[in-house]
Symmetry: C2
Subunit: 155 residues, 2 copies
DNA sequence: GTAAGTGCAAAAGCTTTGCGGTGAA
DNA sequence: TTCACCGCAAAGCTTTTGCACTTAC
């Protein structure tokens, strides 16, 4: 257990080094809080967890570091459309195509995608699935063009 | 064209009646703005559109009616996780299982779901797909139990 | 020693709420 | 006539920003 901890800590230290981020105690505890909570936590929840180990931490520091982690690819956000409400008027089942750059959303007819089978295994006990939706992520035409113009060495 | 408009208007009037909503000019224009814009608009964008036809409309009215539409099933929101940032530490490709009631998110290993083929047809011109993720929606065990306790006639 | 990170507090979005006047049924 | 709806303004969240102090490198 302690070994696992030590290894995880080393991994995280290396992770910071690779990305040019300073390794601080706050960062370590914030990162551990996200990894340990298996429930895709909100910044507020991370704050509560981290405060148990670092009572003096501020919510602003949580936000700053979460943003740093997102920017450097240490963490991801569950949805690209967080922050503003996006509305659907197409009430028939369909899928989405999302531009990761400008967040544009395009509809794809359900019939254009082969039906997805519900997973048989490894469901949390008692969970009943009602429907599924596929989200394809990529880059739309205008964002691809603009990116080429502005930055030659984008990943 | 005018016929289509008239028909859509009648449809919307009936839609309001069916759900016990008053049919107002503001509602009609807001609804049309969402349907006409094919880009899954934000409340702010709807506001801009609607103001061209009703300059005196307020953003609060947009929000109130959008909420009314969502509650009565006239519109849907693109993501259930709008409003608060939710974080991922699992950086390997995987899918999600989401409880529509409590918004809990569970991970599903990619191998538990058959690979989804990228759609060949009907893509917006120039869009390049990078990856896809499946979101299964349903009700988790505790929400199902609680719902049964509190409301007998839930849909 | 220097640049980056932290904590605090203020500010900036996005969204909801309360209230008096207006309009649909 | 009555109740729901509208517009306005204030308040409530979530998130970002600025600044002085501290820490990692």
């Amino acid at each position: 257990m302690s070994d696992l901890r030590t290894k995880a800590l080393d991994d995280f230290r290396r992770c910071c080094k690779d990305r040019g981020l300073a390794f601080t105690f706050q960062r370590q505890v914030i990162y551990e809080a996200v990894v340990d909570s298996r429930e895709h936590p909100t910044p507020e929840l991370i704050y509560e967890q981290v405060r148990q180990r670092i009572p003096s931490i501020s919510l602003g520091t949580i936000y700053k570091n979460v943003k740093t982690f997102l920017d450097s690819g240490v963490l991801k956000e569950v949805t690209l459309h967080h922050g503003t409400l996006r509305l659907e008027s197409n009430m028939t089942p369909h899928h989405h195509l999302v531009c990761s750059s400008c967040k544009a959303i395009f509809d794809i007819e359900e019939s254009a995608v082969e039906p997805v089978q519900f997973p048989k295994t490894r469901l949390p006990a008692g969970f009943s699935i009602q429907h599924c939706r596929v989200e394809f992520t990529g880059v739309c035409k205008s964002c691809r063009t603009n990116r080429r113009k502005t930055s030659k060495a984008s990943s």
